[in-house]
Symmetry: C2
């Protein structure tokens, strides 16, 4: 039996090509590809391990399973924007309008970055479970930061709580809507699209002129 | 063996409660619930049949399988808006601005309608296949109608082709982004949200005042 196991064609962990990225990163890249092209439910942990060029048993040295990979991938679509949002909130050298514009632009770039549309994973029914609490917290924190920046703009400063929440939803919805637009036209350069989306977000907020860009 | 089969607890097709809806509609409702709560890949045709209170063999009198159910559900999120869009394009008694506003508002209402967020199914990898060509055609037709209405507005009339396409993407992205917003807050009344989204879509288009509503 053990001979049969040794004969299978999957490369052993120490035979993986030296790509310079960590085994965990290789697993994340493999999972990103398989989850977005074959679907999350249809992808086995074994398939992820094989795609990353390692045995399933080796994989478990690096991750607990495919839920953990999905959680990591989802968080990677939010945490860089959340970190930027917190820096921008603390930076009072630029106008709220300029900081909001910068956050929108950078967030769209992030959502459209990489070869796989990870945002497509947001709508998986599996993502409702407790395993993904970290992702939901980061996403709620990011949305809250959008709300705070909006509240500091001249156009939204006088809105009541309900109106501000609705305006925040619309801006956040436009930014995340980039996931759906990007999916239909994945080859479009994200640069011009991100700029146009940031301009549109400011128009939604009621800001009619693009602010002077802050020194990032 | 046949006794065993007869003893299983699933009700026979003729035992379904008389709900007044057709068997096909019952299957669609069952599929909508299971696809959005358990996931498409994780749902078997047998589970759909059972949820609809009929045997799997009976189910095949009404639909060819779960792909057909998914295709129908997806098309149901688009074809009513496409029909409205075509009526609005042909109606020159109202301004383009007013017609665009009406289309946006109605489209958001449709995307947020029903107990299940069918829009969540847009991002399934399975939807890329040929089975769903009808859905993709209808969706492309709807987006094209948005583009034509936008081109007829004063604010977008002078845009070049590339700028108009980008503006159309942004408006369409905001409307479909309602899927993502709605999912986070499914209990919000869709009426006010749809109105606010239509207002926001017009601001993206560069239209600063809500047009006088046409007599629908």
């Amino acid at each position: 039996m053990s001979t049969t196991v040794r004969r299978v064609g999957r490369p052993r962990a120490d035979q993986r090509p030296d790509s310079g990225i960590s085994p965990r990163e290789e697993l994340l890249t493999a999972a990103a590809e398989l989850f977005t092209t074959h679907g999350y439910a249809a992808t086995t942990t074994r398939a992820v391990a094989e795609r990353a060029g390692m045995r399933q048993a080796t994989m478990y040295h690096y991750v607990a399973g495919k839920e953990e990979l999905l959680a990591d991938l989802l968080e990677s679509t939010v945490t860089p924007s959340l970190a930027l949002a917190l820096r921008l909130l603390a930076d009072d050298t630029a106008s709220a309008e300029a900081r909001l514009w910068q956050l929108c632009r950078s967030d769209v770039e992030l959502l459209c970055a990489g070869p796989y549309n990870l945002g497509a994973l947001y709508l998986l029914p599996e993502v409702r479970t407790r395993t993904f609490a970290g992702f939901h917290r980061a996403r709620a924190g990011l949305k809250d930061a959008y709300g705070q920046l909006l509240a500091s703009t001249e156009a939204c400063g006088a809105l009541d709580e309900g109106e501000l929440a609705l305006r925040t939803d619309l801006v956040f919805g436009l930014i995340e809507g980039a996931i759906l637009i990007h999916r239909c036209d994945p080859d479009r350069p994200s640069d011009a699209f991100a700029t146009a989306t940031a301009d549109a977000a400011l128009r939604i907020a009621g800001i009619t002129e693009r602010p002077v860009s802050p020194a990032a």
